[in-house]
């Protein structure tokens, strides 16, 4: 199908048109609206701003919506969550992959069930209240870890099965304790799959607003929660220039990471899917 000479000539044209219409138009709307004055942005459209004030809008959002605090809130939740799921998940996955017992098969099935089953958002709030963790960063980290550990266990267990055990055995014969073997031999070998898991978990947690709303809403601010508040607040109704300035601010870190690590991300996302 792709060998027809006519199609070969047409395909780049079709591709460029599709990119412009499907991706270009929405992104263009964000950039031009974020650069407009409030009066111009009340009815958001695709026209260029009469006078660019992107920088002023970004600054206004930065200070009025308290972006630094939200950014810090996001960071303080995302970083420990990722570190935690990677460490605990790969420890569990290593043993699950290497000890093929019936009990472990059941534990594995339970461990990965969270990939499919939705978490109980309402009762988790009740539980956190009983534990005194409601509205705290630690409670939020725990909830996210409970949700995304299953993803890590799934990916890492599959990966460990492809590593020959001989490498570990050499260290065991030398008398290394299990944790030393895990840390010095196994963890370094897991680097590719841990990169995959990091990307997936970061993507989900950084952008999540639903679980954050229930667990820390109103107590700790994260970037998506803050955007949600800003956009829903009566004060900001029809202030599209500020909403889109916020969208730009919030998306830039992820786009920057993507630009640097594109290959890694793509192989990461597709890694577990087709085998």
């Amino acid at each position: 199908m792709s060998d027809l000479p006519l199609w070969r000539r047409l395909q780049p044209v079709v591709t460029i048109i599709l990119v412009v219409v499907l991706i270009g138009v929405p992104l263009w709307l964000v950039v031009v609206t974020a650069g407009k004055s409030q009066g111009e942005a009340v009815q958001p459209n695709l026209s260029l701003p009469g006078h660019w004030q992107l920088w002023a809008n970004l600054r206004q959002v930065w200070t009025e919506a308290d972006v630094p605090a939200a950014f810090f809130g996001s960071l303080i939740i995302v970083a420990p969550t990722v570190a935690g799921v990677l460490l605990l998940g790969s420890m569990a996955a290593w043993v699950l992959a290497r000890r093929a017992t019936r009990v472990n098969a059941v534990l594995y099935a339970l461990g990965i069930s969270g990939i499919i089953l939705p978490p109980a958002v309402i009762t988790v709030v009740l539980l956190l209240r009983q534990l005194g963790l409601a509205g705290t960063v630690i409670g939020m980290i725990g909830v996210y870890m409970g949700i995304y550990l299953s993803t890590v266990i799934f990916f890492v267990t599959g990966f460990v099965r492809t590593i020959p055990p001989a490498l570990e055995e050499a260290a065991q014969i030398d008398g290394a304790a299990p944790f030393a073997v895990f840390r010095r031999i196994v963890l370094p070998l897991l680097r590719p799959v841990l990169a995959t898991a990091t990307i997936l978990v970061c993507l989900y947690v950084w952008n999540d607003v639903f679980y954050a709303f229930f667990v820390v809403g109103g107590r700790v601010d994260t970037l998506p929660l803050n955007l949600f508040r800003v956009a829903s607040a009566g004060l900001y109704l029809n202030n599209w220039h500020l909403i889109f300035a916020y969208v730009l601010l919030m998306s830039l870190p992820l786009i920057a990471v993507f630009a640097v690590a594109q290959r890694r991300i793509i192989s990461g996302i597709t890694g577990g899917a087709v085998k």
Partner: protein
């Protein structure tokens, strides 16, 4: 995702005899306490709340009084008699199916279009990945602005259509927006799938005189079955558990025609009706469990046949 699980375990099966020989020492080299931290977190933050779901859905827990009393099936009968329960289930299932169809059609189309490794195609693939990385909330606001009655889309076509306020078609529009956000991911997975189709298989079919279209539909597409399974399953589950895009575009309206379960849960929780919210959370849990396993089973069966 579970689909890959089974194939992995079976792929790992030949290694089992070797493992059996080592079982004597496994206790020492791979101690079970390595599982404890992860499973403690899972138990506390995932399994206990899930069990609680089955308890508190049968109580009158709310923010209006401090005592929590069991009320049997009252929450279910109340939600069922005022029509909320079945409407929310219907909206959620319709939304999930629409998203799964759109996301896969778009993703597959893009993968076929961008399959060759040219410079234009590589740049285009990067662009289609941008929505995947963006916050779903932001995506919702972008389309809310684009689709306003006086918005850019209506201006472009010179029409005056209320894209996000049509009681019949808005759910389709929102499902398309959801599919737009995730089509880049489906595209990547289909691209990876297309790469795994052996070149000589396609050549052999061509030598046997099969037309291009026939080779494509009869050889390449069937070999994409694992990618289809993964994409359909993740799109279905992802959209049943969706929230951000619907909230940012319609908030469940017009007339609650796009109120998927998580929107209902969010709204009733905000009103302090915790028991109702928990009941719907339990309904979502059961719905996903009921839908996921048959879907995955059917898709896997098809993989085997092909």
């Amino acid at each position: 995702m579970t689909l890959t699980i089974d194939s992995r375990t079976s792929a790992g099966a030949p290694a089992t005899p070797k493992l059996a020989g080592r079982r004597r020492t496994a206790r020492g080299t791979h101690p079970m306490w390595f599982l404890i931290p992860a499973y403690a977190v899972l138990l506390l933050f995932f399994f206990v709340p899930t069990v609680f779901n089955f308890v508190y859905a049968f109580t009158d827990w709310s923010s209006f009084k401090s005592a929590i009393n069991p009320v049997g099936l009252d929450n279910f009968t109340q939600l069922a008699t005022d029509g909320t329960l079945f409407r929310a289930i219907r909206v959620t299932v319709v939304y999930a199916v629409l998203v799964a169809v759109f996301q896969n059609v778009l993703g597959f189309g893009l993968a076929v279009l961008l399959e060759r490794d040219t410079v234009v195609n590589r740049i285009a693939r990067t662009f289609f990945l941008v929505p995947v990385l963006m916050s779903a909330l932001a995506v919702g606001y972008i389309f809310q602005a684009l689709l306003k009655p006086s918005g850019a889309v209506n201006q472009l076509f010179g029409i005056d259509y209320a894209w996000l306020a049509d009681t019949r078609w808005t759910i389709v529009v929102v499902a398309l927006i959801h599919a737009w956000k995730w089509m880049g991911l489906s595209m990547l997975i289909y691209l990876a799938g297309l790469k795994t189709v052996p070149e000589d298989l396609v050549e052999a079919a061509r030598i046997d005189g099969a037309s291009r279209a026939r080779t494509f539909w009869r050889i390449r597409v069937p070999l994409l079955a694992p990618a289809v399974t993964f994409n359909v399953a993740t799109a279905l589950l992802g959209s049943m558990n969706g929230f951000d895009i619907v909230q940012a575009t319609t908030g469940g309206g017009p007339a609650r025609t796009t109120e998927i379960l998580n929107i209902f849960i969010y709204r009733t929780f905000g009103q302090g009706l915790f028991a109702q919210a928990t009941t719907m959370s339990l309904v979502l849990f059961l719905l996903v469990a009921l839908m996921a396993f048959p879907v995955i089973y059917v898709l896997r069966k098809r993989e085997e046949v092909m």
